[in-house]
């Protein structure tokens, strides 16, 4: 895409956000923020049996880039396993969003991705805590 097409791509995601709104009974809810612009993004994630993302939505407020990036992220992350989420690369994400357009607001551009990565860690930490609790009960 050339610069104009990339710009139109971002504006389309901002003006017609995909997967926007809360999700009932999510497996993970994660909130992230960026003080530079006052951007806030909340991700709702539901996992399938194989720990792949079966549904993902977002809510948020803030600048055009942060909200467009969150919309784009929900499309990219759908169907990915948590391991694949962990492996997602910020540079690739920014490239897909339009590096030239977002270069001066990289924190806004990566807010949703970083929030999803934090969500993955939160879920893993919760899993470990549950396993430890179950082990403690078994050993009691």
């Amino acid at each position: 895409m050339d610069r104009q097409e990339q710009l139109e791509f971002i504006l389309d995601h901002y003006e017609n956000p995909r997967n926007r709104g809360p999700l009932a009974s999510p497996d993970i809810v994660m909130k992230g923020g960026n003080p530079g612009c006052g951007d806030i993004v909340t991700l709702y994630v539901r996992l399938g049996g194989d720990e792949r993302i079966s549904q993902i939505t977002f809510e948020g407020e803030g600048c055009t880039i942060s909200q467009a990036a969150a919309s784009m992220l929900t499309e990219l992350a759908l169907g990915k396993s948590l391991a694949e989420v962990e492996a997602m690369n910020a540079a690739d994400f920014v490239e897909a969003l339009g590096r030239e357009i977002v270069i001066n607001r990289l924190r806004c551009a990566t807010l949703a991705l970083n929030t999803l990565k934090a969500a993955e860690k939160k879920y893993r930490a919760g899993q470990q805590a549950r396993s430890a609790a179950e082990a403690a009960v078994e050993n009691f």
């Binding site: 923020g33 006052g38 600048c63 001066n104 607001r105």
Partner: protein, 284 residues
């Protein structure tokens, strides 16, 4: 603007004035926003965009652009030394005032702010376009940046505190008291400590504007800054906020609307002071 009683009415123009000067070759309209892609979603016809991060800040240091870069920027935007530059933007003109302030560091005094900013232009149903204008490059000559006039650095602020000279903290009351270290509803990051610089008065920037984003009259402003808060034009005043954008708004109000001759903006603001090891902080 004469009816509002400002000390420098020439520094503020109405949306109607701007509408009447869209094709004036001596006027360049500049949009400066927090949201870097608002301009792309539609801007005043003929307006150019100046971004505080990409255009006005140094790319490496926490500082402003150099004289050579300012000259280059002016040339690219088709601004000559004698062009009248009119700023407007989102967030009640925070970044418009910030850009105006940076232009003053380089001595571009032929500058104005559009009262009410982008919000008022939109609410009045005035035209927007996505067409990006192109202007012939100019030859612009700027002096070295005059930081000493209207910009305060942390050592100067420290001396100001010791001298018990007036400081104006334009942040929200909760930021001032240290309950929050950023605006309400914003993520609480950016400084390690909350509170305010000792002796600072809390006069939130928003007290200077009406609900439609326009500046209050000089009489209303004097009632706030002078009768209520005890400031006066003979004082040497420093204003600050979190990163210097809201305080540029108050700097503009005190300097141009009330005519105070000695007001400086501490752009290091709370992100510097609240992280500064050993700096004195008042926190009730």
């Amino acid at each position: 603007m004469n009816e509002k009683g400002y000390a420098h009415p020439e520094a503020v123009v109405t949306t109607a004035w701007v509408a009447d000067h869209l094709n004036d070759p001596n006027v360049r309209i500049v949009e400066s926003d927090e949201d870097v892609l608002l301009y792309e979603q539609g801007h005043i016809p003929g307006a150019v965009k100046i971004d505080w991060v990409g255009d006005l800040n140094d790319r490496v240091r926490r500082d402003y652009l150099s004289r050579a870069d300012f000259e280059r920027l002016m040339s690219e935007k088709g601004i000559s030394n004698d062009t009248t530059v009119v700023f407007y933007g989102d967030k009640n003109n925070w970044w418009a005032c910030y850009a105006f302030w940076v232009f003053q560091l380089f001595g571009h005094t032929n500058a104005k702010v559009m009262d009410g900013g982008r919000q008022k232009w939109l609410e009045e149903g005035r035209p927007l376009t996505r067409e990006v204008p192109s202007y012939p490059r100019t030859t612009y000559r700027a002096p070295e940046r005059a930081d000493y006039k209207i910009r305060a650095f942390r050592d100067q602020v420290m001396q100001h505190v010791l001298n018990r000279q007036p400081l104006v903290d334009v942040r929200s009351p909760a930021e001032y008291t240290g309950e929050l270290i950023h605006m309400e509803n914003y993520p609480q990051e950016g400084a390690l400590r909350g509170g305010h610089i000792p002796g600072a008065k809390n006069i939130p920037w928003g007290r200077a504007v009406n609900p439609d984003g326009t500046f209050k009259t000089a009489e209303e402003l004097r009632a706030i800054y002078e009768q209520e808060q005890g400031l006066s034009p003979d004082q040497n005043i420093i204003a600050y906020c979190r990163i210097g954008e809201r305080s540029s708004h108050t700097w503009f109000v005190l300097t141009y609307l009330l005519g105070y001759p000695s007001v400086r903006n501490y752009d290091g603001s709370w992100t510097e002071w609240g992280n500064l090891v050993g700096a004195p902080i008042e926190k009730p």
